[in-house]
């Protein structure tokens, strides 16, 4: 394809090229909104039908890790936005620094997610053959808060008295939990790949006030993933804390 510097032949100006690319990214993000929207819808319908099981499932999540991860992700959005700004004003070194900071924070988020998933394996809360919501309260682990666990046991026992099928409905909650956070994490992993590509480009000094479309576009993607988490966090972690 004919190309002059960073300007492709079918565009008149770099500005037009950037606007077109941004519009294209937004159209992709619309499909993502509807794709995640379907999952949120499934979650809403099942939560209203099985609110006891969903409430107990939600209360087993670690709110400190969840809130901490929210802070980490919003911070990474800030550093991403600052990377875009650095490119726009031509501070090439800062572009690399902010992109690396974003990559670091994104990786921290994924690491914390891995710790949370491991806990769910340990507590027999993975949907499937070994799933049992009574397991963890009956088998405390070394670092558990016993008072919190006694509360959980009471809650689980009460729920079983009302609904003997709580283990099935609980699996529904955890299927959605792993499906939604897993898909979100997959988006983060793709984002990490994109960031590594950007960082390589920034080391070569590719991003300038005239041409910074890749940083802007990956930024849009990264912020979108942040927005998905902004909704996931209250819906998955916080729905039933006011017991």
């Amino acid at each position: 394809m004919h190309r002059t510097g960073d300007l492709y032949g079918h565009f008149q100006t770099l500005e037009q090229q950037k606007e077109t690319a941004t519009l294209g990214m937004w159209i992709f993000l619309v499909t993502e909104v509807l794709f995640f929207g379907g999952l949120f819808l499934t979650y809403t319908i099942n939560r209203s039908a099985f609110s006891t099981a969903f409430g107990i499932g939600s209360n087993t999540l670690d709110i400190t890790l969840g809130a901490g991860n929210t802070v980490v992700l919003i911070m990474s959005s800030l550093t991403m936005a600052m990377a875009v700004w650095s490119a726009q004003v031509g501070k090439k070194k800062l572009v690399s620094i902010f992109l690396i900071a974003t990559l670091g924070l994104g990786t921290v988020f994924l690491g914390v997610k891995a710790v949370e998933y491991k806990q769910k394996f340990d507590h027999h809360l993975i949907p499937g053959h070994g799933f049992d919501m009574k397991y963890h309260p009956a088998h405390p682990m070394a670092r558990d808060d016993l008072k919190e666990l006694a509360l959980e046991k009471k809650e689980v026992d009460e729920a079983f008295a009302v609904d003997p099928d709580i283990n099935f409905h609980g699996q529904l909650y955890f299927s959605l939990y792993f499906g939604m956070t897993g898909l979100h994490a997959l988006h983060m992993i793709v984002g990490v790949g994109l960031l590594i590509w950007l960082i390589t480009g920034s080391f070569a000094g590719r991003f300038t006030p005239q041409y910074n479309t890749p940083v802007e576009i990956v930024g849009l993607y990264w912020h979108f993933v942040d927005i998905v988490w902004i909704y996931l966090f209250p819906l998955l972690y916080l729905i039933d804390r006011h017991r």
Binding site: E15, I27, G37, A49, I74, F168, P209, I227, I230, I239
Partner: protein, 106 residues
């Protein structure tokens, strides 16, 4: 180039508001507002998401056609949510009555 450059000051203010929103939503989750807990949680999340879209994603400074695409996505999402939930809400039977035996595996 006539593109609008958002200053770091604006980014910092938005970041601080998002942090405040996160704190507020965690605090609100532990208060008992009865059926309004979910409304408050989603309300705060929506305000946070709007701030991200308008400032971090530069929607406020984007050309009109980009803004149109954004508004359309919200509109389509609203159609999907509203019509499906209206359907579930007005069905005579309760979906919790679906036979649990189907899922037996423990």
């Amino acid at each position: 180039m006539s593109e609008h450059i958002v200053s770091p000051k604006v980014y910092i203010v938005i970041f601080a508001s998002l942090m405040l929103g996160t704190g507020l939503t965690v605090w609100a989750a532990f208060q008992n507002f009865h059926q309004y807990n979910i409304v408050i949680a989603l309300g705060i999340a929506t305000i946070k998401a709007t701030l991200v879209v308008l400032y971090f994603m530069h929607a406020r400074y984007s050309p009109g056609r980009t803004q149109l695409v954004i508004v359309c996505s919200i509109f389509w999402l609203a159609i999907m949510l509203a019509l499906t939930l209206a359907d579930y809400d007005t069905r005579p039977h309760d979906i919790t009555l679906a036979a649990p035996q189907v899922f037996y595996c423990v």
